[in-house]
């Protein structure tokens, strides 16, 4: 099935309580599949087409505030509209899942795939000092698998989680094994697991108020310090990545999502030519696998950040390497998907045959 359909089926199967979305290419199949599947008749999951992405994310905000597993999906321009709501979720510590099936920008841009929302996803995206946990699937299988993982992370840390996919993975058809069926949590389970949630004040406890507002600057600073401590714990515990043929690699390709699939072909073709290339695929874009990049950077002659954008993740790689290893970027924009030979040409021009190794 398509990656977008996999998201919908996984949501039904992993105990999602509510999906709120607005149609936008190339991800409309998520809402379409849910509408067709009618999970409200089986699991009791709420599915609602909202009036806008602004409304969708605020529905996720409201549902998450009451302890329910809620999600939305959209594509780049729609996710741009959601940033206010995501910042409020981060501030009020409301869990929820946002799926971004990226298309090229800026603005209305194109409906063709892109990875140009990396900065928006990994830098918070809205106002204030905050981070969203970002998972980057590279297959239809991972589109399905990451839904449950995203909800678990969102509730463990009371933080919004984003699946940053793109039009290739969303529209691509692959075989997959759907996750095992997991029932929605009962109201008693929600009360027990989410004592912070606004779901009706039970006798004997103080009211639960979910808000991001605090006018006392000393208290607001404490709230920010609490968030920063949480983000530090996430950086410590939740970094996920995959390495392929990195043990003897002289050159490292770093690529995520659909670019990592092209990257796999790149290292295979490189090795046929006698170039020992390896691939690092960050699975969490935030937290970024900086330590692994730094470790590999000490052993390779150069690193090529291969992204379907103008060069965004390359900044995280440069921060991780501290300028000690040559780092270059190769990417295409506007919905153009690069072919492996272009990437190999860039690797040769920018790193292998380059005499001025600048990072």
């Amino acid at each position: 099935m398509k990656g977008n359909e996999a998201i919908a089926h996984a949501a039904i199967r992993c105990g999602c309580d509510g999906y709120f979305g607005y149609p936008i290419t190339p991800q409309s199949e998520v809402l379409e599949t849910l509408a067709l599947e009618k999970p409200w008749e089986t699991t009791g999951m709420v599915v609602l087409q909202a009036e806008s992405e602004v409304a969708s994310i605020n529905m996720v905000y409201g549902g998450g505030a009451s302890g329910k597993r809620c999600m939305t999906s959209s594509s780049s321009p729609g996710v741009a509209l959601m940033q206010e709501g995501i910042a409020y979720m981060a501030g009020a510590e409301i869990p929820g899942l946002i799926v971004n099936v990226q298309r090229g920008g800026p603005g209305l841009g194109t409906i063709q795939p892109s990875q140009s929302d990396y900065f928006q996803a990994t830098r918070g995206g809205g106002n204030g000092d905050y981070n969203v946990i970002v998972l980057a699937p590279d297959s239809v299988q991972e589109m399905a698998d990451f839904v449950d993982l995203a909800f678990d992370l969102a509730f463990r840390y009371r933080n919004p989680v984003m699946i940053l996919s793109d039009g290739i993975i969303g529209q691509m058809m692959e075989k997959l094994v759907l996750p095992p069926f997991k029932p929605r949590r009962t109201e008693a389970q929600i009360l027990e697991e989410c004592p912070w949630a606004a779901s009706g004040r039970k006798a004997g406890r103080k009211p639960n108020v979910l808000t991001s507002l605090e006018l006392d600057s000393a208290v607001m600073e404490q709230k920010n310090l609490h968030l920063q401590a949480k983000y530090a714990a996430i950086r410590e515990k939740e970094v996920r990545f995959e390495t392929m043929q990195c043990d003897d690699a002289e050159y490292l390709i770093v690529a995520f999502g659909s670019a990592a699939r092209i990257g796999l072909k790149v290292i295979e073709m490189c090795r046929e030519e006698g170039i020992r290339a390896g691939l690092l695929r960050p699975i969490t874009l935030w937290p970024f696998p900086s330590q692994e990049v730094a470790r590999l950077a000490r052993r390779v002659k150069g690193i090529l950040s291969f992204e379907i954008n103008a060069g965004q993740m390359v900044e995280d790689i440069r921060l991780a390497t501290g300028g000690k290893t040559p780092v270059a970027h190769y990417g295409r924009m506007g919905g153009v998907v690069p072919a492996p030979d272009e990437v190999i040409r860039a690797l040769k021009e920018e790193l292998i045959n380059s005499h001025c190794h600048e990072s």
Binding site: V54, N58, M59, G62, G63, G85, G200, S212
Partner: protein, 260 residues
Amino acid sequence: MTEEEIMRPENLVYKKPALLNDTPMHYCPGCSHGVVHKLVAEIIEEMGMEEKTVAVSPVGCAVFAYNYIDVDWVEAAHGRAPAVATALKRLWPDHLVFTYQGDGDLACIGTAESIHALNRGEHIAVIFINNAIYGMTGGQMAPTTLMGMKTATCPYGRVADLHGYPLKLTEIAATLEGTCYVTRQSVHSVAAIRKAKKAIRKAFENSLQGKGASLVEIVSTCNAGWKLSPEKANQWMEENMFNFYPLGDLKDITPMGETH
């Protein structure tokens, strides 16, 4: 009667609702919010819904409503309360879910969320405080500011060619298929407060009985923003606001008695 006799429980004629806590309110003396807060707290108690209420507060003067009424609250982004309430009610269908919003929140930045939540017939109650001005930010023009009225951003008075016309969102709401009860009330006199209480109670019961969306507009004073004494503000409201925002039910498809 001695003071001790007067204080005996059997002589009690009025007390503050238990849900209304002792936090000093930030509202200006004379502001309508305090009265409406008291009504909301009283009604939730009378309905026995303390444990099954989730309220949604707005951005505006009522942003801190959660500090005063001891139920669970979700504070929404500016204008988004009806979207937040939509999800809460759909996910907790046996709960009382209501939003408490001002004119800027409901009829300006949140117009889309208001109209669509009402039109979908979400089983929520919307309390709409219309004082024709932005109170929290210091008295700027609101979507409901009357023609000719002076505010910080229309200091020479609202005129159509510069500022457009005041929006009657309540009249629009009455035309929507999804609304079951749309009414306009005020809290400037004891009689008006009694009527407003009945209206809010009816809206809350509609939410619980799944009859559709209810909107209760409360035409309110903002004596600080209007730069009038509380008494003069009430008088100004009667003489000016009620002409443009006439009180009474605009729509009621739930016959009296059916909800009680």
